[in-house]
Subunit: 316 residues, 2 copies
């Protein structure tokens, strides 16, 4: 199909020249002489039948035709370069780039990093803590840990065997002051917007409704990221409604306690995502198996929880 394309080297020369708005700089980037670059542009212009650069005194500027193709050329070559890097990455079995949300990165991955490094000293882990991600290949990501229901088409998707419940968590000192669920009416409640925006929502309102307590708290510190809410609870500010993935490590270590075993199951799960065909790469297998092992280590905490779906306790 792409038959009518002019010589690709000419396109690359144009791309570089358009990005730098200078033939000399473009020639430098491509490691050729300005003369060679001048020829390439000329050849491109002959193919197109019109000029793509207007030559000024000591500068160049794009013509309309040049402006029309410059963004697409830049985009196209970037895409090719990303694809090439993706191929190169498949040869590298010693690094693994993982992306996850800020909360999961801070509270689940980071505290366990040392253990992974010990188990797999040959693998260098890199992190990219962001929720925005459109394309694994394009962004140079090997593995993404994602929440909820994204579009999994074309990627390998493995749901992690861990239901993401939420339940009240606090420091042991705080737990002594609030012995019953009902006593939480008098506690400082910490709000985590990241769970309030779930569908169905699983916030304090829902939790109290499950407990049969007529209480709809409003006031209290609010955080947009789950890990910040938990950090506040760790600091003794109050009681947070903690998501399993975010609090499980602190519960395991005893820094936080969950005195009331009633938990709301949010119904969403984390999924382990990687490019199709990459799921058998050694470091990706190692990383997935390690995550599964780590989840397994904390099942004793989850098992004593009484979990009920948050969808059962929605205000009508």
């Amino acid at each position: 199909m792409p038959d009518r394309l002019p010589p690709l080297t000419a396109l690359r020369a144009f791309d570089a020249a358009a990005r730098h708005m200078s033939f000399a700089k473009a020639a430098e980037e491509l490691h050729v002489t300005p003369a060679a670059l001048s020829f390439q542009i000329k050849s491109l212009e002959e193919h197109l039948g019109t000029q793509v650069f207007r030559r000024l005194n000591r500068a160049v500027e794009l013509t309309e035709a040049g402006r029309a193709m410059a963004p697409g050329m830049a985009d196209g070559f970037q895409t090719l370069a990303a694809a090439w890097r993706a191929a190169e990455r498949t040869l590298d079995n010693e690094t693994l780039t993982v992306t996850a949300g800020p909360a999961f990165t801070a509270k689940w991955l980071a505290p366990r990093l040392y253990e992974f490094a010990q188990a797999h000293p040959e693998i260098e882990l890199r992190f990219s803590a962001t929720l925005k991600l459109v394309d694994l290949t394009r962004d140079g990501i090997d593995v993404a840990i994602r929440f909820g229901t994204g579009t999994d088409e074309g990627v390998y998707s493995y749901p992690l065997p861990a239901d993401e419940w939420v339940c009240p968590v606090m420091t042991p000192e705080m737990a002594a002051r609030f012995p019953t669920p009902d006593s939480l009416r008098d506690a400082t409640l910490i709000f985590d917007d990241s769970i309030a925006f779930l569908k169905p929502p699983a916030g304090w309102d829902t939790w109290f409704r499950m407990m049969g307590i007529d209480f709809a708290p409003k006031a209290g510190p609010r955080f947009s990221q789950a890990d910040h809410a938990v950090d506040a609870a760790l600091a003794g500010v109050g009681v947070a409604l903690g998501r399993r993935s975010v609090v499980i490590k602190d519960l395991d270590d005893g820094r936080l306690v969950a005195p009331f075993p009633n938990a709301l199951d949010t119904g969403v799960r984390f999924r382990f995502l990687c490019n199709k065909g990459a799921e058998m790469r050694p470091q990706i297998v190692a990383f997935r198996d390690w995550i599964l092992t780590e989840i397994e280590k904390t099942t004793h905490i989850t098992d004593r929880m009484i979990r009920k779906p948050s969808s059962d306790f929605q205000a009508e």
Copy 2:
């Protein structure tokens, strides 16, 4: 920056081979011999340091490295080809590709096409009736007529001087049967979901509220496209709440009438969009000027309307 890229011809050979999953077919596409293509792939594999195709009996299949880069290569070359076509289009001052929504295309553009062709016989108009559009360059579009507030970054955007009001329209026969706004309680009302989904909504409820009539109609034929609702009204089915752009031609020609001059101004406008720098291309100038002239021709209809913002009549 893109310095480490292997020879581009090798990448193009790989792209063709990966798309066809056959060296022979790829060679045919690129008009070279299979031998040449084989060399290109081999060269690519030497650059990468590993195979990208696994050679089977009488077929080839992608290796993991090949799978990793194939989608990106296909995407990248498509983008380059689109950019090149965009540059070629700037040379063509005899065709003009326009996209607009289905309703605007059917009820505004199409009935006036003959006039444009007469005024500009040298310009060949092409249409693409769709609401989905992400990239003018990529989709080969010169001009887009768009509704509401899209992201206009990087494109030339000209708001059309025509406020998009809605008011009840019907055939003249129907108008004789329903002489007052209040009598519309007994009429068959046609619902157009495309205006009901505006923010703020401008449906029958809102119109009756503006008229001070306590009536919230529910039953009646529903259409998802504005032009279908108007077609129903034209067929004598009932009374439609017609958008200016969709009904103005039929009002002008007398096929429809708007007996009640009270119109809801939706607050949104159509915008005329084209790539930056393309706004001075002759056929784009001609098209824009023609649209403005056509709008001017129907101002006498709009001027006798009593227009009030739909936002003033929202249920609280």
